[in-house]
Symmetry: C2
Subunit: 214 residues, 2 copies
């Protein structure tokens, strides 16, 4: 039986899960919720997930949210498929560590840049703040570039950490399209620029790309 | 062989790991790093963990940081001991989901309250901001109170989510001692106040309590 997957375009958290479902070839029913229409706040969704956040999955009546909990669940539940946490104990620990570091040290500064640029209403963005966060993004893009082990973070196939990293690289490009003056893309080191092309070449990447970003 | 555990008193992240090592009765060599003395920034520690964060463990030459990655590692590495992620697939997913929600929805607002109260230098705390975060803490303490299943989050023994929640309850009390005007303790619902006493009664809790908070 296919599981239900509730997604919102543009959520880096939800994007991870979509990529994971595809990698593992898990059958799913996709529901796209619109943030603009406040779909996630509608009673029928709140009844499934009281936090009304995406991603949310419902697997045979079991509702689960929080993206990293979902990735762990999918890897255990569909153990026969490709692995999100491949390798031995230490390799798996490294993937979990890197995924968390990406959220904290790359996702954190990107969020702050987005807040400055897009969520301040009529107030002008604070250029000093943006530049400070931009330097953090730069340092961590360089850090993660050194953590590739082959084509991806943990070898020649994508793992959970790749599905945390890839949406952030998507964000970096997207911000650059909307606000070229931020010059975020030029912070991406060559190793990660090449990596990004490999991610984009995954056969399922295109369909997970936010529709309104095209 | 005992593993090395690098801890900093007062870090809710590091506190989790100490409680977990004790629950699982894993042999460890404890090194307390002082934030005040900037021990975590000293070259010998940066050589172990380039993020220079606590908690950090080194197990037979393998260095690992990020508290939740460490808890998962400990549970796999010392599988014969008490379980941090007990139960079936869904039970484990629920523990991971709750642990992440606690970090986000309880830890987040507590951090902001701490920032307002203690990290603004000579500037006065913004009472409006504190009250807004206080209301979030209240709502989430009530949310988590309903998530107890027996004495603890996942039954009659502590699990990983308890070791995320317990340090935050410690923080709530600690803030109240330092800044009684915040009245944070009165936000703790009776079920969680009783729970906190059970946590404090764990035979290993006392020694993990931040020394400078006494």
């Amino acid at each position: 039986m296919a599981l239900d997957f509730y997604h919102g375009h543009g959520s880096p958290y939800s994007w991870r899960v979509w990529l994971a479902l595809e990698l593992k070839q898990v059958p799913y029913n996709l529901t796209i919720l619109s943030f603009q229409n406040e779909d996630t706040k509608k009673p029928e969704f709140v009844a499934i997930n009281p936090r009304h956040t995406v991603p949310t999955i419902v697997d045979d009546g079991f509702a689960l949210w929080e993206s990293m909990a979902i990735l762990e669940y999918l890897d255990e539940r569909f153990a026969a498929g490709a692995k999100l946490y491949p390798g031995d104990l230490k390799a798996r620990a490294r993937i979990r560590r890197l995924a968390r570091e990406m959220e904290q040290y790359l996702g954190g500064p990107i969020d702050k840049i987005v807040d400055e640029l897009f969520w301040k209403g009529d107030a002008p963005p604070d250029k000093g703040k943006i530049e400070a966060e931009r330097q953090l993004v730069k340092a961590d893009l360089e850090y993660f570039a050194k953590e590739l082990r082959g084509n991806f973070v943990a070898g020649d196939a994508p793992c959970a950490a790749d599905f945390v990293l890839a949406p952030y690289l998507g964000y970096v490009s997207r911000i650059d399209v909307r606000k070229p003056e931020t010059k975020l893309t030029e912070l991406v080191p060559p190793a990660l620029a090449a990596y990004r092309k490999r991610v984009e070449a995954l056969p399922y990447y295109d369909k997970t790309y936010p529709a309104h970003w095209r």
